[in-house]
């Protein structure tokens, strides 16, 4: 008995609607109402710190925010959740904020920008939170920032990639990419390659069509400034491959075949998450490996487990080795974060860009409130602009209003060597006895 055609079309439409619903949050949370996951930092006085701290008292200061706890961005969102919990817990153990306990009102935005915006609207207007902290993910941050701006809230955020688009006077990015990562990031990599004395002669690009990676690879739409591809050409390197792939790519074999066909000395993977890991596996399957590879924003754990990934490079702001761990507090906090990540069931527990940027964003809020001596948003914003912030993981940061509050690009180049990530460039930040390994002849 064949289903009548009209009925089948109807079923397909229903399926598509359900898929759309599932796409919002990988089908893992309620789709009819925003979840009410509320994380309240404990302030029960069971402090284990050796310092004598006064117990915070009074009405809790409520800090609102969303994170991608479910959906396509959740793998990284949960890192920010773990870091935030550690920060708030430690803050309360150390006397709270302005002498008051801190409570983090965390909502799940399901990785959907619209939900993030709606949640910030709710946090500010209905929950009347005192402060807000940004969500995770470029789209979500962009959406939430508009709400924060509408209500005049100071808006610290972690890892938004469309730097040029953020011109709210009180937004503060904690990801030290600078305003022009489409220029500074590729130049960092290219300078490092040239520092080896044997830079590549040919280079290939595979670019995720995600806006942030497109920006890094091709620069800002409507301008001719930077972009990894153009900057490589400027250095006289022959661009032998330039492919853009869909964000949801699952079949990497045809892309791997095209890379093998082009055979670049150096492959620039402007990708996210597990893109590089999957692509390397596909290249290994056809017995191909370029002499050098770079991955823009990879999930660091899966890459370490990927056969053939040894030697791949990426960017970072912090890694758990000297000189970054010369500060004992960085070691102490990193250990807390490692434990929190492990408790959350996250396999790769080391602090690197995401966790470091997350911690830094919280430091912005804390120091702004303490510096301004109040929770007045305007006063906090002014204080940040005037004083900058001393951060644990990224040093002192001075915001530059003439650069949309961005500051210099503090990215470093890291590389997988002997089964772990090591910063290898610039030299002053390189791990002991580590340097960039690259030779196009190999």
């Amino acid at each position: 008995m064949k289903a009548p055609r009209r009925r089948r079309y109807l079923i397909l439409i229903t399926v598509l609607a359900l898929i759309a619903a599932a796409c919002g949050g990988d089908g893992t949370t309620e789709t009819t109402a925003p979840p009410d996951t509320e994380t309240t930092a404990p302030s029960d006085g069971e402090t284990t710190t050796s310092e004598e701290m006064e117990e915070p008292s009074g009405e809790p200061i409520r800090i609102g925010g969303t994170l991608a706890l479910t959906g396509v961005l959740a793998a990284t969102g949960i890192i920010h959740e773990a870091v935030g919990e550690v920060f708030v817990e430690r803050l309360n153990e150390q006397g709270g904020l302005l002498g008051r306990p801190v409570e983090w009102v965390l909502l799940d935005d399901e990785s959907v920008p619209d939900q993030s915006a709606a949640a910030y609207e709710r946090l500010i207007t209905e929950d009347e939170v005192d402060l807000v902290i940004g969500p995770y993910g470029t789209g979500n941050i962009t959406s939430a920032m508009a709400v924060a701006e509408r209500y005049g809230y100071v808006f610290p955020h972690h890892t938004a990639s469309l730097t040029y688009a953020y011109n709210y006077a009180c937004h503060f990015s904690s990801w030290s990419t600078g305003l022009h990562p489409n220029i500074t990031n590729p130049n960092l990599i290219y300078d490092a390659l040239e520092s080896t004395g044997t830079p590549p002669e040919t280079i290939g690009f595979v670019v995720n069509e995600f806006p942030g990676t497109m920006f890094i690879a091709y620069g800002q739409d409507g301008t001719d400034e930077g972009g990894a591809v153009a900057l490589a050409e400027d250095r006289g390197w022959d661009v032998v491959l330039d492919l853009t792939f869909p964000t949801a790519t699952s079949d990497w074999a045809p892309i791997a075949a095209q890379i093998r066909d082009a055979d670049p000395d150096f492959l620039y993977i402007a990708g996210l998450g597990v893109n590089a890991s999957q692509l390397i596996t596909a290249m290994q399957a056809i017995d191909y490996s370029p002499a050098g590879m770079f991955s823009q924003w990879p999930a660091p754990g899966p890459l370490l487990q990927t056969e053939g990934a040894d030697g791949i490079m990426s960017v970072t702001v912090f890694e758990e080795h000297p000189p970054f761990t010369d500060d004992p507090e960085a070691v102490e906090v990193s250990a807390l974060i490692n434990q929190a990540l492990a408790d959350a069931g996250i396999p790769y527990t080391k602090v690197e860009t995401q966790a470091a940027a997350s911690w830094t964003a919280w430091e912005y809020l804390q120091q702004a409130a303490e510096g301004a001596g109040s929770l007045d948003q305007e006063a906090m914003c002014d204080w940040l602009l005037e004083n900058g912030v001393d951060t644990l993981y990224q040093g002192h940061i001075d915001f530059r209003p003439d650069e949309q509050n961005y500051f210099e690009d503090l990215s470093k180049l890291k590389q997988i060597q002997d089964g772990d990530w090591w910063v290898v460039y610039p030299e002053e930040f390189a791990a002991p006895d580590r340097s960039l390994i690259f030779s196009p002849d190999e």
Binding site: A3, R7, D26, T70, F245, G345
Partner: protein
């Protein structure tokens, strides 16, 4: 030429995996009138179980099929018993199985977190092994998946066309009451078939775990290609599903190497639209169960 050849070969092989992922849904929809969206989370759950068994007990990931496939057969059979009790029709099945999909996704996230999981190469040699014909590479894991898809598609086709059970399935698919009048127990047939379709999803999960990094959101990305293959292949038509998987895989691969990777999903959905317009009952309609 070599590039096109590699693209086509890769397309054929990945098409086998697409077919393997689609066979269970096609049979379930075609023969049982259950549009089983939980099928996607069964594939993912199986992949996670394979991952866990491999990393916890250092088991060969392919050998874990001996555990997950029978296990999921039981799960599928039990699910059909439940469906029978609540008397689901096609539309109800969409909603109920979508609910199961959500629950299983949440369960996966709760147990394994939202982070990426990958079986390390020391436990998973298949991931990067290939057989070479000249410079054309045939990845071993995809070859095995393709072989499994062919075996299941042909085996199920023979089972459905040449055995009493197959006749019973077709009878139930066409008219349950009439089948019952002829001595067929529709409930029993449905329970066995549901067990089989869920077992197929478990097998697909094994190859997903072997070949990919897994995370809870992964299953959502399969909807488009699997539904394309199911529709293109014809509901309940196992050989059609295999053919459709290969057609979609080859079209994707060829489009990717010819016009770039961005063209691949476009081609998939153009094929789906063309199929709905010109072959709405599938590529090989005569062999359909439904």
């Amino acid at each position: 030429m070599e590039l096109i050849s590699q693209g086509i070969v890769s397309g054929v092989l990945i098409g086998g995996l697409y077919a393997l992922m689609s066979l269970g849904l096609s049979l379930s929809w075609g023969a049982l009138k259950i549009i089983n969206l939980a099928h996607f989370s069964f594939i993912l759950l199986s992949a996670y179980l394979v991952y866990q068994m491999s990393v916890s007990y250092s088991l060969d990931p392919l050998l874990t099929a001996l555990i997950v496939v029978p296990l999921f057969f039981v799960v599928g059979a039990a699910m059909q018993v439940f469906f029978h009790k609540v008397q689901v029709d096609e539309f109800k099945s969409l909603i109920i199985t979508f609910g199961i999909f959500i629950i299983l996704q949440s369960l996966i996230r709760t147990i394994w977190s939202a982070d990426f999981r990958r079986i390390g190469s020391e436990l998973n040699p298949y991931e990067t092994q290939s057989i070479f014909v000249g410079r054309i590479a045939l990845p071993v894991s995809q070859l095995i998946a393709f072989g499994a898809a062919v075996l299941i598609a042909v085996g199920m086709s023979l089972l459905l066309s040449r055995t009493y059970f197959g006749k019973a399935v077709r009878a139930v698919a066409q008219d349950r009451d009439m089948a019952r009048a002829f001595g067929v127990d529709p409930r029993r047939v449905a329970v066995i078939l549901s067990g089989l379709t869920t077992a197929f999803s478990a097998l697909a999960g094994v190859f997903i775990a072997v070949g990919q990094t897994i995370f809870p959101g992964l299953a959502v990305g399969w909807f488009g290609v699997v539904f394309s293959v199911v529709i293109l292949g014809g509901l309940g038509n196992t050989l059609g599903t295999l053919t459709a998987g290969v057609v979609v895989g080859v079209a994707n691969g060829a489009a990717s190497v010819t016009w770039g990777p961005l063209a691949a999903p476009l081609v998939t959905f153009l094929i789906l639209i063309a199929a709905l317009l010109f072959r709405p009952d599938g590529l090989l309609t005569k062999r359909s169960v439904a």
